[in-house]
């Protein structure tokens, strides 16, 4: 105590606990990443560095199909969610309070408040009825479900960006006789673009990560990467699962880094 100057913000033991927490957060993740490069066939022993599990996962046609499905659904859902969320954000920000505004907020944030398992069984029941009625069992159900729960994640950064935007530029455009659409196209949209990109990325990550809702909504043969991995887990963890996890982890980190760079440009 005597060796260091007294700092008002220091609380005894807090830094130690914080470091323990950070170590505890990263050790399991790094272990998983390390094991994905394990050369041994068993997950229990270390058999030297090898890329064999990445090769195995890459050559596995089931994994390929699941990966394509995951990316496809995430792409569709993020584009759709971002589009409708952008419109909703334009309709709910920078306006005098209007009738029903709170109801819209609640509806948009609803997927964040309801436990995922409840939404999952609700969609299971609902889509089961539609499947019986129409006979359609395609991927549209998954896209619709993913779009719905991605909406709040797309909406939040877009709304934040809109709220921080200077209205005077748009007023200036209107003063120069730009039509509403031209003002939107040439003034609002370019200013809003980083927010939209950030929202789309979050939506993409969220869709890519989902396991519970997908597990309940999917029809036979519609596994995404996470539901495939969960299914594998039923038997035993395979080093291949670790390789897929690490690949997904890398993709998430990449997208998040991009997200941070995009949102930082704000000021």
């Amino acid at each position: 105590m005597a060796s260091r100057p007294f700092s008002v913000t220091d609380l005894p033991g807090f830094a130690t606990i914080a470091i323990v927490a950070f170590v505890a957060l990263y050790v399991p993740i790094l272990t998983l990443v390390a094991y994905s490069f394990n050369g041994a066939t068993s997950v229990a022993v270390w058999g030297g560095f090898s890329l064999q599990w990445y090769v195995a996962a890459w050559d596995n046609t089931v994994v390929q199909a699941a990966a394509m499905r995951s990316l496809g659904i995430a792409a569709c859902a993020s584009v759709l969610a971002t589009t409708v969320a952008t419109m909703a954000a334009l309709g709910t920000t920078r306006t005098a309070p209007f009738r029903g505004q709170t109801a819209i907020y609640v509806a948009i944030n609803q997927p964040l408040m309801v436990p995922e398992i409840v939404t999952a069984v609700a969609l299971l029941i609902f889509f089961a009825a539609i499947k019986v009625a129409t006979g359609y069992t395609g991927l549209a159900y998954l896209v619709l479900a993913h779009t719905a729960f991605c909406i709040p994640f797309a909406y939040l950064p877009i709304r934040a960006r809109l709220e921080g935007m200077d209205l005077s530029l748009e007023t200036a455009a209107a003063d120069l006789y730009a039509s509403r659409w031209r003002t939107f196209r040439h003034v609002t949209l370019p200013l809003l673009a980083p927010g939209i990109a950030a929202g789309a990325m979050l939506a993409f990550v969220i869709s890519l990560d989902d396991v519970v809702i997908t597990e309940f909504v999917k029809s036979a043969g519609q596994d995404t990467l996470p539901t495939y991995m969960l299914g594998q887990m039923r038997r035993a963890i395979t080093p291949e699962t670790n390789a897929i996890s690490t690949a997904l982890l890398a993709l998430t980190v990449l997208l998040l880094t991009a997200f941070f760079i995009l949102t930082r440009k704000r000021d």
Partner: protein, 305 residues
Amino acid sequence: MTRSAEDQQRAETTRRNWALSAPALLVLALGASGPLLIVLVYSFLRPGSYSGVEWQFTTEAWQGIFLTRDIFDGTLGWADAHLTIFWRSVKLSLTTTLLTFAFGFPTAWFIATRPAKARAFWLFLITIPFWTNLLIRTFAINEVIRNEGLMNTVLMKLGVIAEPIRIIYTDTAVLIGMTYVYLPLMVLPLFAAIDRFDMKLLEAGYDLYASRWQVLRRVVLPIVKPGIVAGSILVFVPSLGAYVTPRVLGGGKNMMIGNFIELQFGQGRNWPLGSALSMLLLLIVMVALLIYVRAATKGAPHGGH
């Protein structure tokens, strides 16, 4: 502008705002909120013979959550198995919330008191696990705590233990797993609250001869309370409905409400009971959220938001 023209313009803006929000609301109605109403309806129906439901009104499913009819003499008794699962879920979720707070508060404090540049780095470190797939994080903690996992291997190599400690597929494993996966959810709102906290108040406290503990308890905690409540809700709500973590780390036996609900839609083939359980879970969550809103709107002497 005349009064009526102003009204007319306001009405037009409202209409435009609703039109812009309509597509999002439609998707949500079909893909989130609407189906919840169907679950409510299903919870008052009779189970179908194979699966699904028969359209006949009954409150049996709701009673079935708490009561069970003896198959031999037909007498009603408490549904012990269901109550055990509920109790386990509530207990594990509350303990998870407490543990994430115990680790999360010092962590959030640590990040918030770093110099600006270092703070961005620590914050980024906490964000990566936050956005990493929950399933992957569950696999990751599984790598550490399973019988041949990192923890047992290291402890055995060091000679601390002769036999692996078996915690996988126990409630302890589920608790460790949930604390691990939900820790970032606690840290982020706590950080946001502590970041707004005026550190000058600490000096004022010390000047008035308060001990560190007194300052923490009487000055810091009351002011950052909204963050504490937000973090607790963010951890408690998903913990209570957790599905993936108990399934992977708890095995088949250590179920929580989420797994039990799934069971009713799978092997159990009792959709009304599953629906009633889902509605009850939702009800508990809504009550928790209500408490949150109450606690967050009052008791923020520093202005809050």
